[in-house]
């Protein structure tokens, strides 16, 4: 049978179970889009910027666990994907990015809209391909999806010259394919499992640090079983939030730069740390040389290169988190750590991290808490990056698996809105809230048009403080309150939304907050709320500049005047 390159690509996507793609048209991908009507199984979401397409694919992938697919043309289309690809790379999100390339005879000639996108994305993809030989297309598509979703997931890019899309050649679908050098280890080494069990059984003051690997692997039940069996408090990373229900009796919040004080203290004081599917990122460890040097550390991760990268560990176990925890739970003994757990409770009581003070003005913490109350904790929360992201992570209560979608490793402002689009497409029945800041929101604000065109019932809450707030907070605390290039004189977001055909309202006073949220929820379609929050509100707790996990600024210190700017 004969097929064009474009047909082979789309046939491959269908065979990989792809139902939706995100992206933008352009010269070199016209033949691919032109072929799409022959594959009605695939719905294409037209974004307004390729960065939006990449983040939407990420949001979709993070929400569903399936591979997110984005499409862009050559040159600027491809380079606009780069931020989203890097974001997916750092947060281990399965993604296949498809880019058009100039025709084969033109490659290397600086042709119109030519960039070397495989070269550009070399350090930020798990792997990438330039398709020079049309019959290899089906194999490459299969390999790309396999690489993206297995092992430690990540983005894979396929760059396709326009003439490859159009060329008609003999079609052979590979029943099997061979990647001899790529064989992720799934099962933990039995000897290491036994060593880890011994360390855990001997522990007196253990904590579990659960990362995104638990969510990626779907190891919720296994994590809970380990925690309950050995009575170990569970602390998550930012990306590990919702790996265990936050209302679970052994859940002690999340650690790091803006984590809970008691979580940081417990991590610092523990004699045993069981790190599961996390990579000791510097935002989680704070000053890495001061990270708990006494504890015996068990590190479970599917990526061998993460072992010993940032922190020296005592018992490494390379493998899939779910598989390894299943093995481990068989050999870990039942135990109790009553004194240690009551110590954590005491720290939590004496260092309340999440108090909301009384205020006539709109406090961001209050807004997030009210969204939680109104949605009964059932919503999928998607954030941008900045202060609002930390408040969203702190003040919503995450009881449902994988209910927070946020850009952790790359910290990409502008992630929120397009990622929320992807999440809503992936979870059409869910209530999806995009919690964004006014700075972050404006970086991908044009995707409001995508919401309108796709008729997505997305709810958008902008925590609008008229600043690039996180930077302003740093300026206040560490740069003598010199607010250089942080004040934003933003647009009227309600009018902007209206221009895109999306209803909205503004909340200026505390008493506006609940009615606005209720209005948003009663609206069957999308809705935007512009919360005019206290402009110079800070995110606390906060690890001091260059400090260890327990060198913290707590909200109270500031009020008492302990912190001088």
């Amino acid at each position: 049978m004969k097929m064009t390159g474009a047909q082979m690509m789309l046939d491959g996507l269908v065979k990989e179970g792809v139902e939706v793609t995100f992206g933008i048209q352009g010269g070199k991908v016209i033949p691919l889009f032109d072929t799409m009507p022959q594959f009605p199984q695939i719905h294409h979401v037209l974004t307004r910027h390729e960065q939006g397409a990449a983040h939407a694919a990420e949001g979709y992938a993070r929400a569903t666990g399936k591979v997110g697919v984005c499409i862009a043309t050559s040159g600027p289309g491809a380079t606009n994907l780069v931020t989203g690809i890097a974001d997916a790379f750092l947060d281990s999100v399965p993604m296949v990015a498809i880019t058009g390339q100039v025709n084969r005879p033109d490659i290397g000639k600086d042709a119109f809209q030519e960039v070397d996108i495989t070269g550009i994305t070399l350090p930020i993809t798990k792997h990438n391909y330039l398709v020079l030989d049309t019959p290899s297309m089906p194999r490459i598509v299969r390999e790309a999806f396999y690489l993206a979703r297995t092992g430690r997931p990540g983005p894979v890019l396929i760059d396709v010259p326009g003439d490859v899309f159009m060329e008609e050649t003999e079609f052979h679908y590979p029943k099997e394919f061979d990647l001899p050098s790529y064989k992720p280890t799934l099962r933990g080494h039995p000897a290491q499992i036994n060593k880890a069990a011994k360390v855990i059984n001997d522990a007196r003051q253990p904590v579990i640090l659960a990362g995104r690997g638990v969510i990626v692997s779907g190891a919720y039940a296994e994590l809970k079983e380990l925690a309950e069996k050995a009575q170990i408090p569970v602390i998550t990373t930012l990306l590990g939030i919702s790996a265990i229900p936050e209302s679970h009796v052994l859940s002690y919040g999340w650690l790091g730069m803006h984590g809970m004080v008691h979580a940081n203290m417990a991590t610092d004081a523990a004699d045993t740390i069981i790190a599961i599917g996390m990579r000791f990122d510097d935002r989680a460890t704070a000053k890495v040389s001061a990270f708990n040097t006494r504890a015996r550390i068990v590190h479970i991760d599917i990526d061998p290169a993460e072992i010993g990268k940032n922190i020296k560990v005592d018992v490494p176990i390379v493998g899939d988190v779910k598989t390894v925890l299943t093995q481990l739970n068989k050999v870990v003994e039942t135990s109790q750590h009553i004194d240690w757990i009551s110590q954590l409770d005491e720290w939590r009581r004496t260092h309340p991290s999440l108090n909301i003070r009384d205020s006539e003005s709109v406090l961001p913490q209050y807004v997030v808490r009210q969204i939680y109350e109104a949605t009964k904790g059932e919503a999928t929360i998607v954030t941008g990056v900045g202060q609002h992201q930390m408040w969203a992570a702190q003040y919503y209560h995450y009881d449902h698996p994988n209910s927070l979608i946020t850009s952790g490793g790359l910290g990409t402002m502008g992630f929120g809105l397009p990622a929320a689009i992807g999440a809503q497409v992936g979870r059409p029945e869910a209530i999806v809230w995009c919690l964004d800041g006014d700075g972050s929101f404006q970086m991908t604000i044009q995707e409001l048009a995508t919401i309108q065109q796709e008729r997505l019932p997305l709810k958008i809450a902008i925590l609008n403080n008229g600043f690039l707030g996180m930077v302003r907070q740093w300026q206040e605390l560490f740069f003598g309150k010199r607010y250089v290039a942080t004040p934003l004189s933003g647009p009227d977001f309600v009018k902007v939304a209206e221009a895109y055909g999306i209803p909205g309202t503004m909340a200026k006073r505390r008493e506006d907050v609940i009615p606005a949220i209720e209005q948003a929820l009663s609206e069957p379609g999308p809705f935007l709320i512009d919360f005019r929050i206290e402009p110079e509100e800070n995110v606390y707790p906060m690890v001091k500049l260059g400090g260890s996990l327990v060198e913290l600024l707590e909200g109270e210190d500031v009020k008492k005047g302990v912190v001088k700017s």
């Binding site: 495989t118 070269g119 070399l122 350090p123 798990k126 792997h127 690489l147 590979p174 029943k175 099997e176 394919f177 061979d178 990647l179 001899p180 050098s181 790529y182 064989k183 280890t185 990526d303 061998p304 290169a305 072992i307 010993g308 990268k309 020296k312």
Partner: protein, 182 residues
Amino acid sequence: MTGNKHTLVALVEDRPGVLNRMASLCRRRGFNIESIAVGHSETPRLSRMTIVVDGTNAMIEQLRKQLDKLVVTMKVSDITSDNIVVRELALIKVKANSETRSEIIQIVDIFRADIVDVAEESVTVEVTGDEDKIDSLLSLLRGFGIKELSRTGRIAMTRGGTSLLGEDKDKTGGRRQKKAAS
């Protein structure tokens, strides 16, 4: 941080862009490549690279794992502390005239090197050995004036019967066995 010179050997797919992937990874993780030598291996479609880099054991182990993670690499091994044969080849074009030529030839003979080209005002020396040997020869020849120098960089192999892929069996359960691709 300073460390020691390490010798990494890698078996990689013989495809365009593979060298770039390896070198780019070393660069972005902050490693300075002292030398890199690439050529065919005993297995068709696999190239063998010898990379010499500076670093502490922990740093090099991290680099090794990062290189091993690339989809194009079959195996990366740090053989620095193994019992190994190390060789490098150099071509050295030395200034020479009728007065100095015989002295140069004597030195070359002592080093069991070869003269591979003679011209009126130069001789070209080919020498094989470990870096120390080549460095010593170079320091002796430097006085005559070196017009041109080309060194291949180190290649290395472990002594004894094992091979890079063979020694891996217990760790990966024979993962190198190829499935029949259809």
